[in-house]
């Protein structure tokens, strides 16, 4: 029985948790917001005068800003395309009855358990390194010059590494969706004269649409903040060729000891992430209803 009295009691009981959560979020957010309006450089201690939007002006006019914005979008979109398409392919393959199915599935999921830093280092040193990497050896063995992935195609290489990490996630979600597809529907379509491709296009893909939405939503949130992979492989370079927004903020606030500028970048990133989230929800969040 929820009387007026018990409702009030419930509010009192729940308030510590709510206040805690709010403080957890609001204090760092408002401090960041506050710092972003100060000239606050750790190399010039002492005064932290209020400078208005100066930090934002610096951030937006930074030569790296535009590149970082474009790189962020390329990184997110590129990884999404590779993981969703690859995830669907893997899900369909893994859904087939094969020998050693359990082991194959665990192997496919394995990359997801490797820490980003570790996997990026493995890729950098054991695969992509032109001298000691496997790809370099393979190129040499057929008489080609080894390709220096991280300096000649830094962003594409990072997209590759991140895709490798996130493909298992997409595969896992899409595989479970695949397994919930009613086999009789596929048989009915087969009786109806649908080729494999038609069955994929008209039956499987619509069935997977909701799972694909989930994959895109969740991955976008994480992919906007890719950092470790860039730090250990290219350091954002050469130049700004593989700098995304997260890395740009890090470079400005920590490498230049400029807390004010970094905070301004942080606020910009929050705003951008929210814009993306709103658009995503509008565009494909509809899919999640009903």
């Amino acid at each position: 029985m929820a009387t007026q009295h018990s409702k009030t009691a419930a509010r009192w009981m729940i308030s510590p948790a709510v206040i805690m959560l709010l403080a957890w979020m609001i204090i760092p957010l408002s401090l960041t917001l506050y710092f972003s309006f100060l000239r606050y450089n750790l190399l010039m201690p002492g005064t932290n005068p209020f400078v208005g939007f100066e930090n934002y002006e610096y951030f937006f006019t930074d030569p790296g800003f535009q590149a970082a914005l474009i790189n962020t979008i390329l990184l997110v979109v590129g990884v999404l395309i590779i993981t969703v398409v690859g995830g669907i392919a893997f899900a369909i393959l893994l859904d087939q009855p094969i020998k050693g199915q359990g082991i194959v599935r665990i192997l496919v999921i394995a990359p997801f358990f490797v820490m980003p830093t570790v996997s990026a280092l493995v890729w950098k040193n054991m695969f992509m390194n032109p001298v000691s990497g496997i790809f370099g050896h393979m190129a040499k063995s057929i008489g080609l010059a080894p390709f220096d992935f991280l300096s000649q195609a830094p962003l594409a290489s990072i997209i590759g590494i991140v895709s490798w990490q996130w493909l298992p996630f997409a595969t896992l979600i899409l595989l479970t969706a695949m397994q919930s597809l009613d086999q009789e529907q596929l048989e009915a379509a087969e009786m109806d004269g649908a080729s494999w491709w038609s069955r994929f296009w008209y039956i499987m893909l619509p069935h997977l649409s909701r799972a694909i939405t989930v994959v895109i939503l969740i991955q976008t949130i994480f992919l906007l903040s890719i950092f470790a992979e860039i730090l250990v492989t290219t350091n954002g370079g050469p130049g700004t060729a593989s700098t995304n927004l997260t890395y740009l903020i890090y470079a400005q606030s920590l490498l230049q000891y400029d807390v004010g500028l970094g905070s301004a970048g942080g606020v910009v990133a929050i705003i951008l992430a929210n814009i993306v989230a709103i658009f995503l929800m509008r565009m494909i969040g509809k899919n999640l209803d009903a």
Partner: protein, 334 residues
């Protein structure tokens, strides 16, 4: 046209032989029902005919053409599944249009056939809804509509009514029966419900463990069951089977008498017993009679007006020419 002939067809899953060599001929326009207990291979047999399962050996001929190696879509058969297997993201119209779209039928012809099917199946008002918004009976009709528009050589039904409630099942049974009368197309219908088999079939195929026990019209099966299994499977309530001395008197190992062929009297008769449960249905009364010394329980079907109750002592008399006799192997003795 829709003549289907199975010639020495077998099916094994690994080492398990589901269907031993089996011969069966289904004539054009016939309503054939495969009936048998769960796991008797009737659905597997239907899926072999549909092409959804590969035959291990033997041949399937449809209209004289060897269809054993043909893929399902090339056999010209349409199937209605137990779960209906409608495409959930498509409207009813698109569901029905799907097979025609795959076959590349032109738009005007598609529309004509959809409208005809919708009218025949009372679906006109629901064409723009999705399967999720329909009731069980309506979904069933959409599944049938999707089969009709292909104008197949034969319809295959895989327990289509088992997901419906009792009242709807009776209604759909009539609709499918009428559909067969109107289209005159071959239909093969799988069910475990002998009432459906008896009411709809031109020809019933009784299966047990992949083996055909008997093929015949409903009345043939009722009047002359070939063995004990068919005798007890066809007819409701089940036939009473009596063994021992009473059977030996009739020169058989087992005798069978249907509940409706035993008359009951409170005063005199051949066998004496005591009424257990009495089920008064209004039109009929079913008595379960105990302590007869013949079998655990003898079921009797009597008129609705009879005034006998639990615990009464009764005398039973079987109709002499309605006693079925079976030998040691369970086969009918002429």
């Amino acid at each position: 046209m829709g003549q289907i002939i199975l010639d020495q067809v077998t099916k094994s899953f690994g080492d398990v032989n589901v269907i031993p060599p089996l011969d069966l001929a289904i004539e054009d326009g016939e309503f054939t029902v495969f009936v048998g207990p769960s796991g008797c291979g009737k659905s597997t047999l239907l899926r072999l005919i549909a092409g959804l399962e590969d035959t291990t050996s033997g041949h399937i001929r449809i209209d004289g053409r060897d269809a054993t190696e043909l893929p399902p879509s090339k056999r010209g058969l349409a199937m209605v599944f137990q779960s209906y297997a409608l495409y959930p993201h498509m409207t009813v119209r698109k569901n029905i249009a799907f097979p025609m779209k795959m076959a590349g039928v032109d738009k005007a012809e598609q529309k004509k056939r959809i409208d005809n099917a919708a009218r025949a199946l009372n679906l006109t008002d629901y064409l723009d809804r999705r399967p999720g918004q329909l009731s069980g009976g309506q979904r069933q009709r959409v599944a049938i509509g999707r089969a009709i528009v292909r104008e197949p050589a034969a319809f295959l039904f895989d327990e289509p009514l088992s997901n419906l409630d009792a009242a709807l099942r009776v209604g759909m049974r009539l609709e499918i029966g009428e559909l067969h009368n109107r289209l005159k197309t071959t239909m093969i219908y799988v069910t475990h419900d002998q009432v459906e088999a008896m009411t709809m079939a031109d020809k019933i195929v009784v299966l047990r463990a992949g083996v055909i026990e008997q093929v015949g019209s409903p009345l043939e099966l009722y009047k002359k069951p070939r063995n004990v299994f068919v005798a007890s499977f066809i007819g409701s309530p089940k036939m009473n089977l009596i063994e021992g001395a009473t059977a030996a008197e009739h020169g058989a190992t087992t005798i069978g008498v249907r509940p409706e062929h035993i008359s009951v009297s409170p005063t005199e008769g051949m066998w004496k017993g005591r009424i257990g449960v009495a089920e008064h249905l209004g039109s009929d009364t079913f008595f379960h009679v105990h302590d007869t010394g013949l079998a655990d329980m003898i079921t009797i079907r009597a008129g609705g007006e009879i005034d006998l109750h639990h615990g009464d002592t009764v005398y039973l008399t079987p109709t002499p020419d309605k006693i079925h006799r079976f030998d040691q192997q369970g086969l009918r003795v002429a």
